[in-house]
Amino acid sequence: MKFLQIALGILAAIGGFVDIGDLVFATQAGSAFGYQLIWAIILGVIGIATYAEMSGRVATVTGRPVFSVVRQRMGFSLALLTLVASLFVNLLTLAAETGGIAIVLNLFFDVSYQALVPVAFVVLAVVIWTLPFERIERIFGYLGLALVVFLVAAVKLHPNWHSVASGAIPHGHSSALYYYFAVGLMASALMPYEVYFYSSGAIEERWKPSKDLGLNRVNAVLGFGLGGILAIALVMTAAQVFHPLQIQPDSLGTAALGPNVALGQTGLLLAMVGMLFAVGGAAIDTCFAGAYTVAQFCGWEWGKYREARGAPRFTLAWIAMLAAGFVIVATGIDPVMITEYAVVFSVVALPFTYVPVLLIARDKTFMGQYANGRLSSVLGWAYLIVIAVVAIAAVPLLIVTNAGSGL
């Protein structure tokens, strides 16, 4: 029974890993550079697994989620800056993900995108209001697993495995666009909302240090690790279908065309189902993540498990997040463009999120016997350097490449 629970948790984590940022950046990167950027996904996935494990451990041991730790370690002013930056990025991501839901529904039913945007927001609000946390996580995680179709497509197209292996090794390139996509791929794996959501989820699911730290480690390493394989499959499919034809994907529909070419109508249907639940799940994650950060910063009661009456300001916060996301998408801005900006700007907020997590996870006065071991510490510090480099490079690369258009 315990094994089954763990397996179900991992499956949900795999299905929940990919979001619109991965779909956009991985498909574009595979189309532009073939397999050459697989290493950036691997680097990002090791980073998110490291920090998700730490944040889940901190939440389980101290009973405090990431943002509460951020405020304690960084003081009011820096924590407020982190809150504003992360809320801004969360809001953009929520808008992009929900716009993504409308785009995929449009591909399914050919109903106007503008008409589907309010539908997407209402459905999300109903799902969040009515379903318990664990069921939301599982439903969207399992159905998001339909994205495994990209893995099947990538293998069926007979990739050049030698080139795939070469792409897994970090290497340089003369093009700024290459580094823009490298930053985008790493950033979409390391989006701050993932650790806010993951650590708050540990408290929502009432993890206990005595029995759930193993589950935390397995979830973080296997869930994010295997989820990263889906992102690699997106790159591989694009590298085989679009790269030889010099196609530059600029929509979610193009991403779905890859499995369609490889596996026919079944491939297309599974890709669209997977994309729908992947972006839907991520929309809920970002909505919650925004509400969590505000509530945890302000010291309000929070948590889906408390019901609306038990945490009224938290409930208002997620409703406000959804409403603000709707306003952004309703302006008609292309969700794919919002995604690119959200992912790149999230990079700038990364150090503010990850530094306090590392500092507290290694602090024996807080964590006691559960403080970081040598591996977590080495990986944690190494990734802070990577994050700092990526944070410095992100905005100049966005400008130089004209947001990845290459002009």
């Binding site: 449009n106 591909l107 399914f108 039913f109 050919d110 279908v241 679009f242 034809l245 010099q246 196609i247 530059q248 994907p249 600029d250 929509s251 529909g253 193009t254 779905a256 065309l257 369609n260 070419v261 026919g264 109508q265 297309l268 249907l269 669209m272 905005v395 400008i399 004209n402 258009s405 290459g406 002009l407």
Partner: protein, 139 residues
């Protein structure tokens, strides 16, 4: 971020933004050609799935419509551009190719289940992709 860095970033953004007011240059034209190549090639791929009758009509209609509007937008941009004299013949040729690409994609959009029409569209788009490549090679 320091105040100087922030000001530098704003100035850089302004410079890049104002760069859009310059006359149309070879790099911008090449970028438009790359986009049109991409639209035409993707349209051909989509048409190929209709020929095999191995896709969904709603998907084809939406995606072909999206590609057609992208081709239209490129044609409009080229029409409105302040083109230097040495590029004018190629730009004019490209505008007519973009309009033809859009027209083929609209055929696909309005007959998303018609395999024989899709086969014609696929062949025409293949030719148009080649024509775009020839314009690019002539630069």
């Amino acid at each position: 971020m320091g105040a100087r860095a922030a000001i530098g970033l704003v100035l850089l953004s302004l410079c890049l933004g104002l760069g859009g007011c310059d006359p149309f240059n070879r790099d911008e034209f090449k970028h438009e050609l790359d986009t049109l190549h991409s639209v035409s090639a993707e349209g051909g791929l989509l048409a190929g799935q209709v020929v095999k009758q191995d896709t969904r009509t709603a998907f084809v209609r939406v995606q072909a419509g999206h590609l057609a509007s992208t081709a239209d937008a490129r044609a409009e941009k080229l029409t409105d551009a302040d083109v230097p004299a040495d590029l004018r013949p190629q730009v004019e040729r490209t505008i007519s190719l973009a309009e033809e690409i859009s027209s083929q994609l609209q055929d696909l959009e309005f007959s998303p289940g018609d395999a024989s029409k899709a086969s014609q569209v696929q062949n025409k788009l293949r030719g148009l992709t080649g024509a775009i490549d020839r314009v690019e090679a002539s630069l």
